[in-house]
C-alpha cells in the first residue's frame, strides 16, 4: 500500500497588486530616477514587522516574523493549539529560491562598514534556515527541520522533504513553508530581469501548509482532505526511465493566475490556490497537473488528490 498523507490547512500571504516604486535598485527601490526604467516588483505588506522590529530589538527577520504569524494562523485554521505541535513528532521545512536576504546583507555591511559592521546577533540570523530555526524555538518543534534553497520548485521540493519524513516515520506532521523576500541586491537582480523582459513581474510571498497523517486530522473531525501520495505515473514508469511527469496527458493548470512569478514560492502558491479556490471541481473529471511551465524538467513524483481528482505535482 502506498503511503498517503493529508494537507489539512494552508495559508498564503501574497502581495497587494501595487508595484513597488521605481527606484535605484541598489538602494532598495526607494528613490525615483531608476536606471532600469519602469518595472514591476510586488512586495508584501511589512508594516507589522517594522513595528515589531523596534519593540523586539531585532530578534526577528522579516521572513522569521511572518512565518511565526502564519503558523499561528495555520494552527487556528486546522483546530490545533501550539501545544499540539510541540515536541519531536512535528517537523518544519522551508523552500525558497533566494532564501534570506540577511545572508546577502552581511556582505554588503562588511563592504560598507568593515568588520565593525558585522554584528554577532545579526550574523547568527544570516542563514537560510533562520526562519525555520526561530520558529522551531518559538513553537517547540523538535522534529526534522531543513531549509531547501533550490529552484522555482523549492516549495514543492520542501513538500517532498516533508513527505519523506512522514514516510520514514521521522515525525507525524510537518509544517511546509515557501517564501521569497526581496531586498538588495536581489531587487537589483530582479529589476535587471524585468528590464530584459518587460512582461515579467515578480512578487514576494509566503505560503505554509500542514502535511500530516490522516488519522491525526480525522481525530480532529477533519475528513475528505486533499491527500498526497506517491505518483502512480512514477511508479509505472520506474525511476530513471521517465520522470518528465509534466509532459503527460491532461490539462496543465495556470500557476500564475495573477501574472506574478513568486520564484521558489510559486509551487506552494499554486497549491494554495488549488486548495482554496475549487479549481479542481471546475475542471470536471479531466486529469490535471500542477506544473511549472518551462522550469521543471523533472517531477517530484507526488500525486495530489482533491475530491477524487488526481493531479501530478511536477
Amino acid at each position: 500500500m502506498l503511503d498517503s498523507f493529508v494537507i489539512s490547512a494552508s495559508c498564503a500571504d501574497t502581495p497587494a497588486p501595487i508595484p513597488l516604486p521605481v527606484g535605484a535598485p541598489a538602494s532598495g527601490l526607494t528613490s525615483s530616477g531608476a536606471p532600469f526604467g519602469s518595472f514591476s516588483l510586488h512586495g508584501l505588506n511589512h508594516s507589522a514587522f517594522d513595528a515589531e522590529a523596534k519593540r523586539s530589538r531585532g530578534r526577528f527577520t522579516r521572513p522569521s516574523f511572518r512565518l511565526g504569524q502564519m503558523i499561528n494562523r495555520l494552527l487556528k485554521q486546522t483546530g490545533l493549539t501550539p501545544d499540539c505541535i510541540r515536541g519531536p513528532r512535528s517537523g518544519l521545512v522551508s523552500g525558497s529560491q533566494f532564501g534570506c536576504a540577511q545572508v546577502y546583507d552581511m556582505h554588503s555591511r562588511l563592504r560598507r562598514f568593515g568588520p565593525r559592521g558585522i554584528d554577532a546577533v545579526r550574523f547568527a540570523q544570516a542563514t537560510h534556515n533562520y526562519p525555520i530555526s526561530a520558529a522551531a524555538i518559538d513553537f517547540g518543534l523538535q522534529g526534522p527541520c531543513l531549509a531547501v534553497v533550490s529552484t522555482a520548485l523549492a516549495g514543492l521540493d520542501a513538500l517532498q522533504c516533508a513527505f519523506d519524513w512522514l514516510r520514514d516515520d521521522r515525525c507525524d506532521r510537518v509544517l511546509v513553508a515557501a517564501y521569497e523576500d526581496f531586498a538588495p541586491p536581489l531587487t537589483t537582480h530582479l529589476a535587471q530581469r524585468c528590464r530584459a523582459n518587460p512582461t515579467k513581474s515578480y512578487g514576494e510571498a509566503m505560503v505554509i501548509v500542514l502535511l500530516e497523517r490522516p488519522a491525526l486530522a480525522a481525530a480532529r473531525g477533519l475528513e475528505n482532505l486533499p491527500m498526497l501520495s506517491v505518483s502512480s505515473a512514477k511508479m509505472e514508469s520506474g525511476p530513471g526511465k521517465n520522470q518528465n511527469l509534466g509532459q503527460g496527458q491532461g490539462t496543465t493548470l495556470d500557476l500564475c493566475p495573477d501574472g506574478i512569478d513568486y520564484l521558489g514560492a510559486s509551487g506552494l502558491v499554486a497549491l494554495h490556490h488549488l486548495l482554496n479556490r475549487s479549481l479542481v471541481q471546475q475542471r470536471g473529471a479531466e486529469p490535471l497537473r500542477l506544473h511549472l511551465p518551462g522550469l521543471a524538467t523533472t517531477g517530484i513524483g507526488l500525486t495530489l488528490t482533491i475530491a477524487n481528482h488526481e493531479m501530478e505535482l511536477s
Binding site: A26, P88, G91, L92, Q97, F98, G99, V103, Y104, M106, H107, L110, R111, G114, P115, I118, A120, F123, A124, A126, T127, H128, N129, Y130, S133, A134, G140, L141, Q142, G143, P144, C145, L146, A147, V148, V149, S150, T151, A154, C161, D164, R167, D168, R170, P185, L186, T188, H189, Q192, R193, V230, K234, G238, P239, G240, K241, Q243, T298, I300, G301
Partner: protein
C-alpha cells in the same frame, strides 16, 4: 520495500588535499597549520587564519580535468560557472570516475548539493554598487546555482535539489538523496557540498568570537574555537542492485539517517536534539549503539559544541565498556561549513576502510570525554564495521548518519531499479 543504498564514488577538494589518496594520508598524519586566506585581507579581523583553498583552485580544477573526465561533461564550463561551482565540479568528477559510471549511466542520475551561502550574489552586489551593468550571468546568483551548474554540465535527468541549513547542510542533502535512491525514485544520486571562502562568514564567526586564532582543537582543554575552511566533498549514492548489475564495487553501505531539532537556541546547542538524531539513525539502520565502532563528531572546538556533543554521545552510548572511538577531523581540514558533513562522511568511509580512526593531531591536552580519542601517538584501530557521522548547525539543527562496511552477504537481492 525500501531499497539498499550504497556509496560507489567519493571525491573532494580541500586546501591540503585534492584527491582521496592525499586526503587519507592527511587524516592519518594531521594537516598543515591554518593560514590567512588569500581571498581577502584577513588582518582586519581578530582571528586571521583559515583552511582556505587558493583562490584559483576552483577555476583551475575544471578546465584541467583529464580527457576521461571531460567525457562526462556536456560542454566546457565557463569561468563564471567555475567561480560558482568549481570545487564541487572537481570533487564530483573524482567521485563519478571512482564509481565507474558511464556517461549514459550518469545521465540517469540526480544531484543534491549543499551550500552555506552559495551563488555569486556577493560578486553581483559588489559590481552593481555604483553602476548599471549586467555583471553576472543571472542564473548563477541564487544559492542553488552550483547545483544547477553540475546538473547542466553533467547532463543529468534525475531529481535536482539544494540545501542551505548552516553546518548540517551536507547531511541534509545526503538525507534527501538517500531518500530518492531508497524509495526507488533514482538509481544514482550525486550528492555533497561545495563552498568557496566567503569573507562575510569569516567576519561573522569572528564577531561571534567563535574562531580560534591559532588552530582548531576539538575536545582539548585549551580549545578556543573553530577554524573555517572551504572546498567540496561529493559522493555517488547508488541503488545497490543497480551498482552490482553494472559491475561496480560498492565502497560502503549507507543504512540510516537521523534529523532532529533542539528548539533551544540559535547558536548554543543542546544535547537532546543530537540524541534524537542519533537514535533515529540507529533505528532506521536497524542497529544498536554498541555496534558502532567510530563516531566522526561535529567537533568544532568550541566549548559549547563539544560539551553538548559529549553529553549526547554519553546518553546514546551509555555502556561505558562498549563505547566507540570518537574523533573530529576539523583540526585537520578546518570547518567546511556547508560541506562539513560531506567531507566528514568521506573521512568516516576511509576510517572504516582502513580500520584506523583519523588522528586528532591538534588535540594535545584532551579533556575527559569518557570515550577513546585518536590522539597523536595513540592510534585507535577500529575493530567494528559500522560508524556514525554527526553534524550540528546554527538554529539547533542536528543530523546523524550510519555507514556500514560493505558486505555483499547483507544484500537485499532486489533487481536493479532502472
Amino acid at each position: 520495500m525500501p531499497r539498499s543504498v550504497v556509496i560507489t564514488g567519493l571525491g573532494l577538494v580541500t586546501r591540503d588535499a585534492q584527491d582521496l589518496a592525499a586526503f587519507e594520508a592527511l587524516l592519518h598524519k594531521g594537516g598543515k597549520p591554518p593560514q590567512p586566506p588569500q581571498q581577502f585581507d584577513a588582518s582586519r579581523f581578530r582571528a586571521r587564519n583559515a583552511f582556505a583553498t587558493p583562490p584559483a583552485n576552483g577555476a583551475r580544477n575544471g578546465p584541467q580535468a583529464d580527457a576521461a573526465q571531460r567525457d562526462f561533461l556536456t560542454r566546457a564550463p565557463s569561468r563564471e560557472e567555475l567561480d560558482c561551482a568549481g570545487h564541487g565540479l572537481a570533487a564530483a568528477l573524482q567521485a563519478i570516475t571512482q564509481a565507474g559510471l558511464s556517461p549514459d549511466e550518469l545521465q540517469k542520475a540526480g544531484c543534491v548539493l549543499a551550500t552555506t551561502s552559495g551563488g555569486l550574489m556577493d560578486d553581483f552586489a559588489d559590481l552593481t554598487q555604483d553602476q548599471d551593468a549586467d555583471v553576472q550571468p543571472p542564473e548563477l546568483l541564487a544559492p542553488a546555482s552550483a547545483a544547477q551548474v553540475l546538473y547542466r554540465l553533467f547532463g543529468l535527468s534525475g531529481p535536482l535539489c539544494s540545501f542551505s541549513c548552516a553546518c548540517v547542510s551536507s547531511l541534509g542533502a545526503i538525507s534527501h538523496a538517500f531518500s530518492r535512491v531508497r524509495h526507488g525514485e533514482a538509481p544514482v544520486m550525486i550528492v555533497g557540498g561545495s563552498d568557496r571562502m566567503r569573507e562575510a562568514d569569516f567576519a561573522g564567526f569572528n564577531a561571534l568570537r567563535a574562531m580560534d586564532r591559532d588552530s582548531c582543537r576539538p575536545f582539548d582543554t585549551t580549545r578556543r574555537g573553530m577554524m573555517i575552511g572551504d572546498g567540496a566533498a561529493m559522493l555517488v549514492l547508488e541503488d545497490e542492485a543497480h551498482a552490482l548489475a553494472r559491475g561496480a564495487r560498492p565502497l560502503m553501505r549507507l543504512s540510516g539517517m537521523g534529523l532532529a531539532t533542539d528548539s533551544h537556541h540559535i547558536t548554543s546547542p543542546n544535547a537532546q536534539g543530537l540524541i534524537r538524531a542519533m537514535q533515529q539513525a540507529l533505528t532506521q539502520a536497524g542497529r544498536r549503539a554498541e555496534e558502532i565502532t567510530y563516531v566522526n563528531c561535529h567537533g568544532t572546538g568550541t566549548a559549547l559544541n563539544d560539551a553538548a556533543e559529549i553529553e549526547a554521545l554519553s546518553a546514546v552510548f551509555d555502556a561505558p565498556d562498549m563505547r566507540p572511538v570518537i574523533g573530529s577531523t576539523k583540526g585537520t581540514t578546518g570547518h567546511l561549513l556547508g560541506s562539513a558533513g560531506a567531507i566528514e562522511t568521506i573521512a568516516t568511509v576511509l576510517a572504516l576502510q582502513s580500520g584506523m580512526a583519523p588522528v586528532m593531531a591538534t588535540t594535545h591536552n584532551p579533556e575527559e570525554t569518557g570515550f577513546p580519542l585518536p590522539l597523536a601517538g595513540t592510534p585507535q584501530p577500529l575493530s567494528g564495521r559500522i560508524a556514525m557521522n554527526n553534524s550540528l548547525g546554527f538554529g539547533g539543527l542536528n543530523a546523524s548518519l550510519i555507514l556500514e562496511a560493505y558486505d555483499s552477504h547483507d544484500s537485499q537481492g532486489s533487481s536493479p531499479c532502472a
